[in-house]
């Protein structure tokens, strides 16, 4: 099964505008389920379409299993119809003039598969995806979820070894989306294909991916496992983009600073992390609100806060705290025993502090500053 390699990929649409994808290197291992995650306009869909051959890079090289598919320098180009990849579009792109069955069999017909084999293959796939009973209907007669399954069947029936998906679940309602996620995971396991999945939904990425590539403004921010993306974000963009409610940041840079940043600086000095002069990130769930006395380790950062908002979200409660004039959000998973306007204590474990330097890059957990950073 294939490895996909992108080297120095750049894509710009006009000659004067900034590139929508720049200097992108990406290695996608065999059988990987890679989610490309980022806000809209970050270049993730463009990247996917370049891998499919639907867009053409203005610089760089794309290889699949060592075979060059695109190379601007060498003048090599493989058209999409010869790449043999599977692609699921955000709009599903079912052909409105063909029935479900004909939609599914289209790719097989192009490969000159005889009618009987075609029928058997399409029946099997449709059966598996639970759309066999709609085989004679036209796409316009199907619901969004059913259309989605037809699009999947159409892609799977030719057994592609590379599957590309462009936000395929974004038009479904929440329940269907959950079902389809499970379905996609199953498909990935069974087909053993390499999957590249574009999404702006972090939970989708977290639940599906074996690897996540976070992109912003055309550049790759971090390529890592979901666990590392969440727990060890490489920079402030990744830290802020992944997680909901988002990570709290406290700036340490300015010399004046707020009371909170002064107190945090003092704390960092006391635990031997004094070299950090950028910012500190704290995930809302890392903040314990009104902790039970004695349960807080001596090394934790602790203080007093005023509760200015309590927002239940079902199983969790989001609590808005004002700590020394700065706003922090905390989440707790048990009903809070405090009221709006009350003062409360809070604590954050030392290990739960994410330290960033002045450029927003993550500092090692021991707080050591790289020589390069010191120069700046």
């Amino acid at each position: 099964m294939p490895r996909i390699t992108l080297r120095g990929i750049e894509k710009r649409y006009g000659r004067s505008v900034a590139a929508s994808v720049r200097n992108l290197d990406l290695d996608i291992g065999d059988g990987e389920f890679l989610c490309v995650l980022g806000p809209s306009g970050c270049g993730k869909t463009t990247t996917l379409r370049m891998i499919a051959g639907l867009e053409h890079p203005t610089a760089g090289e794309i290889q699949v299993d060592g075979k060059i598919f695109d190379s601007v320098a060498k003048g090599v180009y493989m058209p999409p119809e010869k790449r043999g990849m599977g692609f699921v579009f955000q709009s599903y792109a079912l052909w409105p003039h063909l029935t479900v069955q004909d939609n599914v069999e289209f790719g097989l017909a192009l490969r000159n598969v005889d009618r009987k084999t075609r029928r058997a293959a399409s029946d099997a796939v449709m059966e598996k995806l639970g759309i066999a009973k709609y085989r004679d209907r036209y796409p316009s007669d199907l619901s969004g979820g059913q259309q989605q399954r037809v699009a999947l069947a159409r892609m799977l029936v030719v057994q592609p070894s590379v599957i590309l998906m462009d936000e395929p679940l974004s038009n479904l309602d929440a329940k269907l989306r959950l079902e389809m996620r499970a379905e996609l995971k199953r498909i990935h396991l069974e087909s053993k294909a390499t999957v590249i999945f574009v999404t702006h939904d972090q939970w989708e990425a977290m639940t599906l991916a074996s690897m996540i590539a976070v992109m912003n403004e055309g550049t790759l921010q971090q390529l890592d496992t979901p666990d590392n993306i969440y727990n060890r974000p490489r920079n402030r963009f990744v830290a802020g983009f992944v997680g909901s409610p988002p990570m709290n940041f406290v700036e340490l840079t300015s010399d004046e600073g707020t009371a909170l940043s002064a107190s945090l600086r003092q704390y960092l000095d006391s635990v031997g992390l004094g070299a950090c002069r950028g910012s500190v990130g704290i995930r809302p769930e890392s903040i314990s609100v009104a902790p039970i006395a004695g349960a807080v380790p001596a090394t934790a950062y602790a203080g007093q806060a005023i509760v200015t908002g309590i927002m239940p979200t079902g199983g969790n409660w989001i609590i808005e705290l004002i700590v020394a004039d700065e706003k922090l959000f905390a989440t707790v998973n048990a009903p809070p025993r405090i009221q709006m306007g009350e003062e409360t204590s809070f604590a954050v474990d030392r290990a739960d502090l994410h330290l960033f330097d002045g450029n927003g890059d993550r500092l090692p957990d021991d707080g050591a500053v790289s020589p390069q950073d010191e120069q700046k």
């Binding site: 900034a18 720049r22 639907l54 090599v76 119809e81 289209f106 550049t219 920079n235 963009f237």
Partner: protein
């Protein structure tokens, strides 16, 4: 933010680094996509079909024509200002240009004014009041526009024809009245007939604007204490002004190029408009004069269409889309309900019922107006041994008629199919091509004939295709020149339909086929064309109907051998066989009417959206 400075640096670097326009890679990509090649071919084709004739025509205006070379002592083809002097300043200039220009302007302005008042009132009655049979009137009052414009002109002359010209006497004449010339021919009837034909423009465009008008705008004025009259004066009319003005500007542009009406009602008293003056110039082989006249028509036509485009843009600014306020609110007319219904009925009677009835009666009565049984006859349809000098058989048993009908069918048919297919192809190229400049060029060039009234475009076609050019032989007298001209003339509509259809389709279905392994041709044949078959059918049928009933474009290009139904009918008028001509026009009207209805039903489009064509 993370490495913001770093990002900025690389962005600047990226900007400095120039993307090479030509590289082996880009070439390979382009070669896989034949849209660029098709685009270039289409651009060449349309340059030849649309731009070249107009350029050639304008060139003729500055050159000595063969017919004039002896008179002015210059070799044919050399540069001269003689043509301009002749048209603008010479002793014949008033007859060639100035009177026709004044006549054109006065009938066009008159028709605009009448259509504005009548159409405005009808549009309001249909879209905002509770007159009886509102829905029925909404279609019935549009009928004049579906018929050939000179249908009403023929009906008019069937009624008011007097002794000034020969042929079958008019209805009033045989009833013992002698209609004066001003009523029978010239400015008055031309103005009225054009107004009746183009009133549906105002009804459609103004009615649409009224219907989509956001009633909340009205309500908020009322809530502030404005009385209905104030609301109308301060809110509704200012907001409606662009669409009203747009409708009348379009009417002006159409009147400018209308040949049939002025020819039928003006020629007997030598009342010339620009279109008929141009026609005389061409038939008299006055190539230079015709070129200058056509140039004048193109100039006026272009200016009016550009004004209209600006007005439409302005009207669009006022449109509030999808607001729930745009409901169909009706005004109760109370005791005015019946009189107003009667007014709409009167409008229908004058513009549709009477003309068609008169035309029909004229073809089944020996002497007009004499309602006795023995006076009725089917001889003009299927009879033999009629008491006329030539054409002694009924129209349906005349071989020439069937020849013309067959010509209409295949000549207009081929042109319509070509226009429809090219329209989809242009749409495909414009939407898909990586060469943006080719796409833009195609869009403008296919729109160009819209600026040029049909009769002037015909003159342009004659100026280039009537003489051999390189491998292309002289086309005058052949069906080819008709096909080329009809096709080019329909391109504005066909390409606009193609572009909007392709825009709506989007890229996805085609890309899905591409990823599934379909090459360019397979995608076109298996995906794009099957999905677009509806728009394609409409893009063929609409040009077909409008080509079938159109006269101005083909009147100078058809010869007796290549007569179409329209030109055949005019030839019959020329020879005084008015019953036969009326019969032909009735049949054309029936085809045009039912064809348009069918098209509206089949494609669920409204006529208003195809008004430009």
């Amino acid at each position: 933010m993370h490495s913001a400075t770093h990002d900025k640096e690389s962005a600047q670097q990226g900007r400095r680094k120039r993307v090479p326009i030509f590289s082996k890679y880009r070439l390979k990509v382009a070669l896989r996509e034949p849209t660029a090649a098709i685009g270039i071919l289409a651009a060449i084709l349309f340059s030849y079909l649309i731009v070249a004739p107009i350029v050639s025509l304008l060139g003729d205006a500055f050159r000595v024509q063969f017919a004039d070379s002896m008179r002015i002592g210059q070799a044919a083809g050399s540069l001269t200002s003689y043509n301009f002097a002749r048209v603008f300043k010479s002793i014949v200039a008033p007859d060639i240009l100035w009177y026709p220009l004044i006549h054109t302007l006065s009938v066009a302005l008159g028709a605009m004014a009448i259509a504005l008042v009548a159409g405005g009132l009808m549009a309001w009655l249909i879209s905002r009041t509770d007159i009886l049979g509102r829905k029925w009137f909404a279609t019935a009052l549009i009928v004049p526009y579906m018929l050939p414009s000179w249908t009403i002109a023929l009906a008019w002359s069937s009624i008011f024809l007097n002794r000034t010209v020969g042929g079958q006497p008019g209805l009033l004449e045989s009833l013992g009245f002698e209609p004066p010339d001003w009523l029978a021919y010239g400015q008055f009837p031309i103005t009225i007939v054009l107004a009746l034909h183009y009133t549906p423009f105002v009804i459609l465009l103004f009615g649409n604007a009224l219907r989509s008008f956001d009633a909340q705008l009205e309500d908020s004025a009322r809530m502030l204490g404005a009385r209905p009259a104030t609301v109308a004066r301060r809110i509704i009319i200012p907001l409606m002004r662009p669409s009203l003005l747009s409708a009348v500007t379009l009417i002006f542009a159409k009147c400018l190029g209308d040949f049939g009406v002025a020819y039928i009602l003006g020629a007997p008293v030598k009342y010339d408009v620009l279109a008929t003056s141009l026609f005389r110039g061409v038939t008299a082989r006055q190539g230079g004069e015709a070129a200058v006249l056509a140039g004048v028509i193109i100039l006026i036509g272009t200016i009016s269409v550009l004004i209209d485009a600006r007005l439409v843009r302005e009207a669009r600014r006022f449109i509030t889309i999808g607001s729930k306020g745009s409901m169909n609110r009706t005004q109760r007319l109370g005791s005015w309900r019946l009189p107003m219904t009667a007014l709409a009925a009167a409008m229908f009677t004058v513009s549709v019922a009477i003309p068609l009835l008169v035309l029909f009666l004229s073809t089944v009565m020996r002497t007009p107006g004499q309602f006795t049984l023995e006076n009725f006859t089917l001889a003009y349809w299927i009879g033999h041994d009629l008491p006329t000098t030539a054409l002694r058989t009924g129209i349906l048993v005349t071989p020439d008629f069937w020849q013309a009908a067959w010509n209409s069918l295949w000549i207009v048919g081929i042109a319509a199919v070509c226009a429809g297919v090219l329209g989809v192809l242009v749409g495909y190229v414009v939407v898909r091509t990586p060469l943006k400049s080719i796409g833009a060029y195609l869009r403008y060039i296919t729109f160009l004939p819209y600026l040029v009234p049909g009769i002037a475009f015909a003159a342009a076609c004659l100026s280039i295709f009537a003489v051999p050019h390189g491998p292309i032989p002289a086309l005058y007298g052949t069906a080819a020149i008709l096909i080329l001209a009809l096709m080019a003339d329909q391109m504005p509509f066909a390409s606009r339909a193609g572009i909007s259809a392709m825009m709506q389709l989007g890229k996805d279905p085609e890309e899905a086929a591409q990823v599934a392994g379909a090459g360019w041709w397979k995608r076109l044949v298996k995906v794009v064309i099957p999905i677009q078959k509806g728009p394609l059918a409409a893009g063929i049928l609409l040009p077909f109907i409008s080509g079938l009933k159109g006269l101005s474009l083909v009147i100078m290009l058809a010869t007796p051998g290549t007569d179409l139904l329209t030109t055949y009918a005019i030839r019959l008028v020329d020879f005084g066989y008015s019953q036969a001509a009326n019969a032909v026009v009735l049949m054309l009207s029936a085809i045009a009417f039912f064809g348009t209805l069918f098209l509206q039903k089949a494609t669920k489009t409204s006529l208003a959206s195809g008004l430009g064509g």
